[in-house]
Symmetry: C2
Subunit: 304 residues, 2 copies
């Protein structure tokens, strides 16, 4: 197991801070240097012992580092690459943790040109409702999945080092093509968030919003939970994964329009078939998620 002498965390938020804590706990890092644009975040990270040292610019943080982790909003990735590129040690392993990968790889292609062999794009599928370094925890990645999307330029050694880090902090690691990654997360994560945001805005447009919300139950609660997500994070994700998100969102609108049309025509047969297909797909997925021998969650729920 490779132990890093100096780890640079660029972006001391929930994910960057949690990775710092996890690497320290598992003995992967001797010294951790952190940079965040906000002085308050840097100070908080220092005070909480998440980092050993803070710097006032990103370039100084990466000087002498053998591991550089970019844990910035995806929209800031290109600017951060540009800021640190000239200061990277030739041997330094570089990783990001963004929710989209094609745009990050494009930015790396522009700014990291001599360093592409040591760059391993990573997406830890982990998080919390809260953001900020004060919510960081060393166990955040335990039992979660991390997807690596190595490029044609990524060396096998760099990919193996990245995999070892994420495995050691508790994640199950998979590798896939960046474009496939972006398509998949658009379908199962980004588009559901977009729809949940749109749904809440459609609720607030009603004349009887307040009255209606007073009658919302467990079905509504679960369906809209992800609409409470961080607006800035999700803005960046949607902008970065625009093509894939829009394709899936349009597909949904078209399905919804088809259902509406069946309702207008009072086509009970068509509606029942469409609902049955959806229910079967959801039940099959749900069944695939229940580990053998595990107790299913309580099933009490509002159905009407």
């Amino acid at each position: 197991m490779q132990i890093f002498d100096r780890v640079a965390i660029i972006g001391c938020g929930l994910i960057g801070g949690s990775l710092a804590l996890a690497m320290r706990r598992h003995g992967l890092a001797r010294r951790i240097v952190g940079y965040s644009p906000s002085l308050a975040s840097r100070d908080k990270a220092l005070r909480l012992g998440v980092i050993d040292e803070s710097t006032t610019d990103a370039a100084s943080a990466v000087e002498g580092a053998d591991l550089v982790v970019l844990a910035v909003p995806v929209a800031s990735t290109a600017a951060t690459f540009a800021a640190v590129a000239q200061s990277l040690e030739p041997s330094a392993l570089v990783m990001d943790v963004g929710s989209t990968k094609v745009n990050v790889i494009q930015a790396a292609g522009i700014h990291l040109r001599t360093h592409l062999a040591s760059f391993v794009p990573a997406h830890p599928i982990a998080g919390k409702a809260e953001s900020g370094v004060e919510h960081a925890q060393s166990s955040l990645f335990e039992g979660t999945q991390t997807i690596l999307t190595p490029t044609a330029s990524t060396s096998a050694q760099a990919a193996a080092s990245a995999k070892a880090i994420w495995t050691t902090v508790g994640a199950k690691v998979s590798s896939m093509d960046a474009a496939l990654h972006d398509r998949i997360v658009a379908a199962v994560s980004h588009t559901p968030h977009l729809v949940a945001f749109a749904f809440m805005n459609a609720m607030t447009q009603r004349e009887d919003t307040r009255q209606a919300l007073a009658w919302a139950g467990p079905g509504f609660r679960d369906f809209t939970r992800i609409a409470a997500g961080d607006p800035v994070l999700w803005r960046d994700v949607m902008l970065a994964n625009a093509v894939e998100v829009i394709e899936q969102s349009r597909r949904l609108r078209s399905q919804l329009e088809a259902l509406e049309s069946m309702i207008v025509k009072q086509d009970g047969k068509g509606l029942e078939a469409a609902f049955a297909q959806a229910a079967l797909a959801r039940s099959n997925w749900g069944a695939s998620q229940v580990p053998l021998g595990a107790t299913p969650a309580p099933s009490t729920d509002v159905v009407g």
Copy 2:
């Protein structure tokens, strides 16, 4: 508290069966007679002790009954009213338990003409993922809400009797206009179900459905949970509440289209404002749901 000598349950399913069990447990019913079109359901209800006696037609069940409960799919309400109307005792209290109310009241207006003073439309907002009398339980209504939508013809005495029944079995009872009821449940229950069904069908339309579903996490799980609902029940609900559901579904599609358009234009400012509005509405609703002193649910969740 009024004790009923003979309660007729028309439709021995989850809701009808649970109300029978709850009324018996709370001493509200001396004898319970049940009818279901399916012989198997009737026999099961008898064997499980949910009903004391079964009949081979709905009309025989209501003969001599001082309380008649229609717990049939909303699409069967009109036919059931027609089947029992001639056999109702003049003094019998009649309730339904349907998820939509305007259409039920219309059907009552046609078929129950001489009996409208004793008819109290009711919607117990309770249920389970499973259907069928074998899942019936006397505690199903405890801590839930029941909405009554008395008509201009409903007598105060009938409304009070209905309220007493639902209160005794553990529900909090409210009254509102049937049209308002249908608008509200369209917004907070029916449309979310329609969207969840459409979303799952959009998922199954992808070329990479199986691969994508393998990466679906807790956000997807909660967002799509209601898509596993009973296709027949939801078909009937959508057909019965067509106008309100379609209005809200179109409102959602229009909001979603607006978000897509911001993504296409890479309008980060607009997108962030829209997401922030949705997140605020959802957070405010969520906060209104947490009883004082209660422990909020664990917040760990996938955000990327």
